[in-house]
Symmetry: D2
Subunit: 339 residues, 4 copies
Amino acid sequence: MADLSVIAFRPAPDQYAWTFGGTEPVARIRPGAVLEVFTEDCFAGKVQSEKDLVSEVCQFPFLNPQTGPFYVEGAKPGDTLAVHFVSIEPARDWAVSTTVPLFGALTATHSTAMLHDPLPEIVWIWRLDRHARTCRFQSRRGSYAVDLPMEPMHGTLGVAPANLEVRSALVPDSFGGNMDTPELRAGVTCYLGVNVEGALVSLGDGHARQGEGEACGVAVEAAMESVIVVDLIKGQRCAWPRIESDSHLMTTGSARPLEDAFRIAQAEMVTWVSADFGLDVLDAYQLVTQAVEAPIANVVDTNYTCIAKMAKRWLPKVEVYGSAHRRLRETAAAYRSQK
Amino acid sequence: MADLSVIAFRPAPDQYAWTFGGTEPVARIRPGAVLEVFTEDCFAGKVQSEKDLVSEVCQFPFLNPQTGPFYVEGAKPGDTLAVHFVSIEPARDWAVSTTVPLFGALTATHSTAMLHDPLPEIVWIWRLDRHARTCRFQSRRGSYAVDLPMEPMHGTLGVAPANLEVRSALVPDSFGGNMDTPELRAGVTCYLGVNVEGALVSLGDGHARQGEGEACGVAVEAAMESVIVVDLIKGQRCAWPRIESDSHLMTTGSARPLEDAFRIAQAEMVTWVSADFGLDVLDAYQLVTQAVEAPIANVVDTNYTCIAKMAKRWLPKVEVYGSAHRRLRETAAAYRSQK
Amino acid sequence: MADLSVIAFRPAPDQYAWTFGGTEPVARIRPGAVLEVFTEDCFAGKVQSEKDLVSEVCQFPFLNPQTGPFYVEGAKPGDTLAVHFVSIEPARDWAVSTTVPLFGALTATHSTAMLHDPLPEIVWIWRLDRHARTCRFQSRRGSYAVDLPMEPMHGTLGVAPANLEVRSALVPDSFGGNMDTPELRAGVTCYLGVNVEGALVSLGDGHARQGEGEACGVAVEAAMESVIVVDLIKGQRCAWPRIESDSHLMTTGSARPLEDAFRIAQAEMVTWVSADFGLDVLDAYQLVTQAVEAPIANVVDTNYTCIAKMAKRWLPKVEVYGSAHRRLRETAAAYRSQK
Amino acid sequence: MADLSVIAFRPAPDQYAWTFGGTEPVARIRPGAVLEVFTEDCFAGKVQSEKDLVSEVCQFPFLNPQTGPFYVEGAKPGDTLAVHFVSIEPARDWAVSTTVPLFGALTATHSTAMLHDPLPEIVWIWRLDRHARTCRFQSRRGSYAVDLPMEPMHGTLGVAPANLEVRSALVPDSFGGNMDTPELRAGVTCYLGVNVEGALVSLGDGHARQGEGEACGVAVEAAMESVIVVDLIKGQRCAWPRIESDSHLMTTGSARPLEDAFRIAQAEMVTWVSADFGLDVLDAYQLVTQAVEAPIANVVDTNYTCIAKMAKRWLPKVEVYGSAHRRLRETAAAYRSQK
């Protein structure tokens, strides 16, 4: 572990990426590299008080800035990237949430088009106590306040898309992107299929916490200091992002309507359990049906995202993706012991 | 508590209900009554071995038999029923699951109509160990077997629908019904709006356990011995079924597409938090967005069902529905101490 | 034709049906009978001026009154009813449309639940000129007025549902019901699968005209004087309502999301063309893909409805359902010549 | 009209575009220019016989080749492009359709993920008779054959997307693209909002004919010789593609689920009628509800597309987009008279 490659990268203001694909890499890294990165919040840090309305201070397409992309040496289409989250820590003592006109699950939107006026636009500043690990909700139109647990996560992690596409950083799809799942937390490894040479991985959209579904469209948005390890698994494909924790295997699906996101995630889990754990596909269908959790990630983005989550203890003892998660856990431990 | 009214009811074979509404009550009960009931499994007990295919041994509409309905004295439209689950225990040492032709989330169905042949029809018999609290999955086309925790629940609990309707016991909707949510377990209270005199509540469809979404369409189906307490809250409406546990408030939505089920449950939670806990509706929208869990119930029934689940500890200290849940917990304790 | 059985039926105010199924028949008829019926408008005639708001003058479940049901002698489950529309004529010189709070395609609804206030509730009275065959739109908040062609149709035609169900007259489903398709006009024959003895057919919800999709939720609603012939096809099933005109075969699907309604109608057409016209199913898939029209019926009711419409001239020369349509056309001609 | 600018462009094999955005223009044109273009079929001409299976002869992303993009001088974000179709003529005497594994409305797909095997992959070669204006369907597994009217159209017409995105030529969205609507025929003008300097307009995906919905996913695909006129309307926005014919105004929506595509198109029509024709928005909602047609374009692409179609004769006499359609009709006439 003497040769742990640690790269720190804090983007200059003009150095953020606003898309997946279509952007020059900010750095080239070797598989196994540890990245210490700063990520801005989804509003590019422009919403700082209750007076900063998104519709006034932000401007398309400059939303959801991504840190990266990083060019991973040796990554080619058909390989899989393994991104391990060592730590995700809020960079400031506040975070922000808002309503955004014509965005969210309980409002007319540009695609669920209706004749209503937009809901009122309101900003909530959340106070973060990084020591107590809490974030404080304070009502805007009343006095009620409450501390919720801080549970930091990245809303966005992705690689360049296939098929020559360049997608907005607001999009979740098979390349990852703006999945907005609380499952993308410290301690997990996310697998992403590589579509272009170098993979071009980036991340952003830190949330101090988020409910399932992200109903109003905006989580507790926070700039983050994060540490990730990026590894490469040669010659193994990954059609949709997968997540591994010490205890669970997870698959993701991003689509509309929401049942299609559910279907993708469930079908991915059934075929994974069948292909890698040796069960017949219908046996896998049965076991997954009775054992799976299906946490909703978001029902607000351009695609909705759903997770299928399976406890490892209920599956045959098999290590997936060449034991990448265990290996990356060791790298993370080595990194922490160096600090 | 000396006057605890306990009624035991085990339906004769011809005494099951196959619908919500449209059926004569099997008994009249007073609010506060304790019911000890037997419920048959969703196949009316006809699938007992791997050779009993649903398509051969079952026949529409004789699926998902309901125990009840019970006429609750004094219940009128505009009131709310509170049904507390004291216990839910498998009545046999086995349970069953199957694939059913053109039914389930990962297959063409009668409404997601396609040109595929149905998937193969296979039956799995699950062994239940009521002492160890486990249910054993055994592969049909391989040797893999595993014990999953037994987590008994009722897939179905409902009242007669509004608008003169009579609905199949396979339907989940605003009257409750076949919601297929693992949240309907022992220890919770379910609130159901009353649509007709006497409410006409019934239950069935026991599951030894079920994953979220019930992907293949069939859980670990089991006959149950269950104890419930049925109470009445006068003059308070309940548009969609709500569930209260010691720790959480939950709302439900049943609709297609799945995002509409999500929207109903989330909007119900936002307006509940606003109406009963004193938050402005947009403050409630914000708090729910960051704090809520959204467990999927089913993505296979005639309507899909989604839950919104909010921890009480994050809300102002308010008891809802006249403290019905706490009171019913006490009735349950009194019942158990009598046994 | 001397024995043409003609039955006139004009419901008394308390004689309407508000459901499909669950209602005693108003009359028993023999197959081949001609029915002269009056149907009230969907608001039971209660919205008569711009001041009559639906939310004030109407009350659930007393919406969409049905004339019937009629018990068809000899009809049994597994048979198909053929209902031919001889004529559909507005009974008054006015019709009405409105917005209804939380109902329609471009507004939040009870199932697409949102936090918006309802859109304003407005009534439009349309003047009908039965001689010129026009209906006049008059702006409420401006002066613009225009005559549109009168194209009378019935929004609702259905039989009692299967599976012991009773459904509101506002529901479209496999039993027919509130399909709201402009294709249900004079000159067509509608085929409906029989689910219960006597079929129990009823109709209502006349529209002087309607656009495709019925966006605001309410067409140009009119009481009607209609003449239909009801025939019975023994031993032939019909899973979803089908419509035949002199020039076209049509299938219907009613479901949510809208693509499922589309899928049902298209799959029904492909399998119909394959089963009755002798094409291989994939050849039928190809021919239908290139030749079909897919007029949307409604995107507002509890299920959305879509039609698949195929010109007969592009199919092998085959008469379907025992030439029922041609035979009923002759009955209609005989009826008219008697008048 | 002496100065009619006519540009002929026939792409070399390596000169096609496979995306909207992200491609260098093949030519710069002035507003008002007439373009004579050749477009390849959606399979890049590689499926030429019943033995050429798409899964074998085609390769992602090299599907749906676009002719263009053309840089329109002076076009800036906030302007609108007006593209008039003078003529669309099949370039060969045959066209092709196929089933494609896991693509289409009546099959499991990558997003409506299921456990079925794909449907069989079959190719149909259609014979075109350009003199008789017919295309001949010939069964593959039977003898039935029939001539359908040739009704040439372009499945694809689009500009570079907003928000820095690059999208596959298979995608329909607010920038136009793969809308697959039969309404894009000779004689109409399509309005497209400009998102980037020069607009970067391209077209392709000719269909000798197509049914509504394009159920199997593939129309009667044909290389085309087409003539278009491209004009520019300065300072007027267009959020979604609109189409004008001599008789109708049309709006489009592309989204999933299908009801959202319907909603977008209908809301666009209501707000258009309100903004440009002086009706109050709720009066427009009423008039559109009763008068509109809603032809489905496709229910198979990455977004589904729906049209709202309104007869001009039912609207106040107003010319939209600076009478662009009428002016372009005159240019087309001048072009034809020169030939």
